[in-house]
């Protein structure tokens, strides 16, 4: 009786705190759901959306297997088949694989790291809407019969205007780029949140291994996506306006597309694999009943894998005529990338070998992963060898390898992760009667489908053919592949049924059903919108951190921030390496702005697709305006000084510290931007070295005066930004400095536009003029965005958001203008140097 009374007395404050926090963090019912910015909601939506695209792409895959099941198939004509297999690959990679791993990251990362949400919830929501709208554009194009049809990698010249005159390729270029905006925004969000928003005292050496995997993956995305975004922009500009970046008859080179695509494409394999490896590294210790073996070695392996993956893109291009010596660099690089992968495989095996493994459904899928991924890895080492690749290139052997790697790296760990975290998502335990046969159907069906493709490939069956003669010797292998495809599909259907059954009939669970040690289980299940009623702290030497006692203690508000204040959505910002609390981060509440901004961005993309360029410009400006509006609502309009956050600690709000999340976010953004700029420089030099017709072209002579004006104006703008910061910090007025910066940026933009107008040879006539125009446009665009920064500064200065102790906005503007100046000098310098490169260093 007294125990019951004690429980009630403990539950009362927990319930009161829960109600207060739900009122602050909750998302409203009905249409207000469209205003959601909470990571749990967005993460769930991304999972469901990516599963829908997975289902569509899966059906497309089945259609290809129906077509190829027998020789001389007439289920589809060649054009339909081209659209179907192109969309199958594009959807699986861009609309399922990447968003699916992101959805895991979005839903789980804050919880595993012990924080309440991401640093920029509105950006999370904007990223989701971009993904949804971009994917919808591609899907509608498929239904309308104008889907992309040049293969999921859109090689030029097949995807150029001359061979693909309709909108099919434009749909891919614009739709996929749209989706990549989503991926990039989420990547920035994830990096900042992991580095700045962990549980107090969670130093980097004590961060759960999942955090390391997701951190490195997000950093990879920041560097990997810009080359493809640039390639897509250049190809779309070529298709829409005739600038010949990839047209060899006018000084372009079709292979430049392949370089830009695979600079993204190869790291992308690891962008998919690493988060799933993080899932495995989290789950295996739980089922092995012992800590992960080799934590430090795995961290080193992740870093090595990430960087090595950027240096082996040419192994997708072994047959394009690159000299042997250069091929050998990439061949050896591709072979040694297996080493850090093997470090992880052996660490997992050692964890299992030294533990007391117990079998459950997630472990079945982990077994499937080991079998399939190792096979895919071994055939990967085979195709990394140039002589073998020359034989197997463009055959079904490569199709088999790719599916073994991607399914091994993604599908099996993903399903292991789903079964492991479904109790967290749904509050119910799995029903195993269906899960086990579902696994075996998927496993057997997968191997039946794709193992046969190794053999059809070795027998010479090319990729992408829509039918074949009956005397090629491929008949029974193709039939078995198709049968296997249907078996696998039945398995996936059972998985879906199993999930529905679990949702309806699964046993309810309240706390940590697996006995895990990570923090996502130290909260009510399913998680409330605020995740943690109070934020956990990792005391010295704590290891089993997700105990039931901890969950109850946090629910009672005994961690950090175990109270509600001012109606603020509060969480803690910490030191990047040590995890010591250093700032109070106040997050924005639900808003429709991300949805409206996503709609405006979609309008800009659709107008481009239908060649309404003026309308597209208006929509782009509307998007910029909505971003400005969002900026006006960020932060706090007065100084607060240090505020208590619990445990006797007081820290200032994020608006009053130097290391605010937005500062790190802009650095990440500039890294992505710098990668795009570097890719543009690479493209310019590549065309100079490799493309035909550059030595015969007339030597251009850009106006040195305009170049000088542009560079000088950018320098003045950067100096004025410093002046405005000093003025505000000293309590003075900064509007004069800001006005000067605005004028300077207008002058720089005008000079850059003047230079573009005078580019010779004409940008449509030769790639030399086209690349010069691209470089100058980059400068003009960045000067224009600098103007948006300044407009935002002026508005926020007037509204009281900028003050001597709150100068973050001005620091961001200064950083942007510094970057614009540096890239402007490089771009202008190259434009001036191009004539010398063409004439003085003319190739023989």
């Amino acid at each position: 009786m007294s125990e019951s009374a004690e429980q009630q007395s403990q539950a009362a404050p927990a319930l009161r705190l829960h109600r207060e926090l739900v009122a602050i963090w909750g998302t409203g019912p009905g249409l207000q759901r469209l205003a959601a910015v909470n990571h749990s909601i967005i993460g769930r939506r991304m999972m469901i959306t990516s599963f829908v695209f997975f289902a569509i792409a899966g059906v497309l895959g089945m259609l290809t297997r129906v077509q190829l099941a027998t020789p001389n198939g007439n289920f589809m004509d060649a054009e339909t088949y081209n659209q179907v297999f192109t969309m199958h690959g594009s959807m699986m990679l861009f609309l399922f694989a990447i968003p699916m791993v992101e959805s895991f990251a979005v839903y789980l990362t804050p919880k595993i790291l012990g924080t309440r949400d991401f640093a920029f919830p509105r950006l999370t929501a904007y990223g989701y809407w971009c993904y949804l709208f971009g994917g919808t554009i591609l899907t509608v194009a498929l239904i309308a019969g104008v889907a992309p049809n040049s293969g999921w990698f859109m090689y030029t010249p097949l995807s150029s205007n001359i061979y693909t005159p309709g909108v099919n390729a434009d749909v891919w270029l614009l739709g996929v780029t749209f989706v990549e905006i989503s991926a990039l925004s989420l990547a920035v969000e994830i990096v900042v949140s992991i580095l700045k928003m962990r549980a107090p005292d969670m130093s980097l050496d004590r961060m759960p291994i999942f955090g390391w995997y997701i951190l490195v993956t997000a950093m990879m995305m920041i560097v990997a996506f810009p080359p493809l975004i640039l390639g897509s922009i250049l190809l779309e500009v070529e298709r829409a306006f005739g600038l010949p970046f990839f047209d060899p008859t006018r000084g372009g080179d079709a292979l430049l597309w392949q370089h830009l695509f695979w600079l993204f494409g190869h790291p992308d394999v690891y962008i998919i694999f690493l988060p799933m490896a993080g899932v495995l590294s989290t789950i295996i210790p739980v089922f092995a009943n012992r800590p992960l073996v080799g934590y430090r070695a795995i961290v080193v392996a992740i870093v090595a894998l990430a960087l090595l993956s950027f240096g082996i893109w040419v192994h997708h291009m072994f047959t394009v005529g690159i000299p042997h010596l250069a091929l050998a660099f990439f061949s050896l690089g591709s072979a040694i990338v297996a080493v850090p992968t093997a470090v992880q495989i052996f660490a997992w095996l050692a964890t299992l070998a030294h533990g007391r493994p117990r079998w459950d459904v997630p472990m079945l899928y982990i077994f499937g992963f080991f079998f399939i991924f190792v096979m895919g890895g071994l055939t990967g080492v085979m195709v990394a060898m140039v002589p073998f690749d020359w034989q197997a290139h463009d055959t079904y052997f490569v199709v088999a390898h790719m599916h073994y790697v991607v399914a091994g790296a993604l599908a099996f760990p993903m399903l292991a992760g789903f079964y492991y975290w479904l109790p967290l998502l749904t509050g119910r335990a799995a029903v195993h009667r269906l899960a086990v046969p579902a696994f075996w159907l998927v496993f057997v069906g997968f191997n039946l489908t794709f193992f046969m493709m190794h053999l059809t490939g070795l027998l010479g069956m090319p990729r992408r053919i829509y039918t074949y003669q009956d005397d090629e010797g491929w008949n029974w292998l193709n039939l078995l592949s198709s049968v296997g495809g249907f078996v696998m599909t039945i398995g996936f259907a059972l998985v879906v049924i199993d999930l529905v059954v679990q949702l309806r009939y699964g046993r309810r669970v309240r706390y940590n059903p697996w006995g895990s040690a990570t923090l996502e289980w130290a909260m009510p299940i399913p998680p409330p919108p605020y995740a943690f009623a109070s934020i956990p702290s990792l005391g010295p030497g704590s290891s089993q951190i997700a105990s039931r006692d901890l969950a109850l203690s946090l629910a009672r508000g005994e961690g950090y921030l175990g109270f509600a204040r001012n109606g603020w959505q509060e969480t803690l910002g910490v030191h990047m390496t040590t995890g010591e609390p250093e700032q109070l981060i106040v997050l924005p509440q639900p808003t429709y702005l991300p949805l409206f901004t996503g709609i405006a961005t979609a309008a800009a993309v659709l107008a481009l697709l239908f060649k309404f360029y003026l309308l597209s410009l208006v929509a782009a400006l509307a998007t910029a305006g909505l971003f400005l509006l969002a900026a006006q609502r960020a932060g706090l309009a007065r100084d607060y000084g240090p505020l208590p956050v619990g445990h006797g600690v007081s820290v200032p709000p994020h608006t009053e510290v130097a290391e605010a999340p937005a500062w790190l976010a802009l650095i990440c953004t500039l890294v992505a931007d710098g990668t795009l700029f570097t890719s543009l420089l690479f493209g310019t030099f590549y065309l100079w070295i490799a493309a035909p017709n550059w030595s015969a072209v007339m030597a251009p002579a850009p106006s040195r005066m305009l170049v000088f004006v542009a560079v000088a104006a950018l320098a003045v703008a950067a100096a004025a930004a410093r002046g405005s910061m000093r003025a505000v910090a000293a309590g003075g007025k900064a509007s004069g400095w800001m006005g000067l910066a605005v004028l300077a940026l207008l002058a720089a933009t005008a000079a850059a536009v003047g230079l573009i107008a005078g580019v010779l040879p004409h940008p449509r006539e030769h790639a030399l003029g086209a690349t010069a125009s691209a470089l100058l446009s980059y400068v003009a665009l960045h000067a224009g965005i600098g103007l948006l920064f300044l407009i935002s500064n002026l508005l926020r200065l007037g509204a009281g958001f900028i003050a001597p102790r709150r100068v973050l906005d001005l620091r961001l503007t200064r950083l942007w203008l510094d970057y614009t100046l540096v890239t402007g000098v490089i771009a202008m310098g190259l434009v001036l140097t191009l004539p010398a490169l063409v004439t003085v260093l003319a190739r023989p």
């Binding site: 980097l204 050496d205 430090r296 960087l307 042997h324 050896l332 690089g333 390496t577 010591e580």
Partner: protein, 112 residues
């Protein structure tokens, strides 16, 4: 005595070793492309490639020696020791990767 926080800029060192590897790859691939494109003689192209490789190996060796000789930084606690170990391991791995990836190809014919 409580530990001092490890400066966040130390995190860049985790990527330093393999960034040098990437730099070596880009420089070697670019010079090889330029040399073949402009018809440099095989000997002079090979010399250029060897010089670039040697420069990168020197940088990596210097970085390894520097971090090994200084030892784990005092006063930064377990986080400092962890990062020191991880950076050292990435440097050694990057040095090995540079030798394995780039030395054997230099023995091949240059522009075929």
């Amino acid at each position: 005595m409580s530990d001092r926080p490890v400066p966040p800029r130390q995190l860049w060192w985790l990527a330093a070793g393999f960034t040098v590897w990437c730099s070596a790859l880009v420089a070697l691939y670019a010079i090889h492309g330029i040399g073949c494109s402009f018809g440099w003689s095989a000997d002079s192209l090979r010399l250029w490639l060897a010089a670039i490789l040697l420069a990168h190996l020197t940088v990596l060796s210097w970085m390894w020696r520097d971090i090994t000789s200084s030892g784990p930084p005092a006063g930064f606690g377990p986080t400092g020791a962890f990062l020191h170990w991880a950076v050292t391991a990435t440097l050694i791995a990057a040095l090995a990767a540079t030798v394995i990836t780039f030395v054997p190809p230099l023995l091949l014919a240059t522009c075929i």
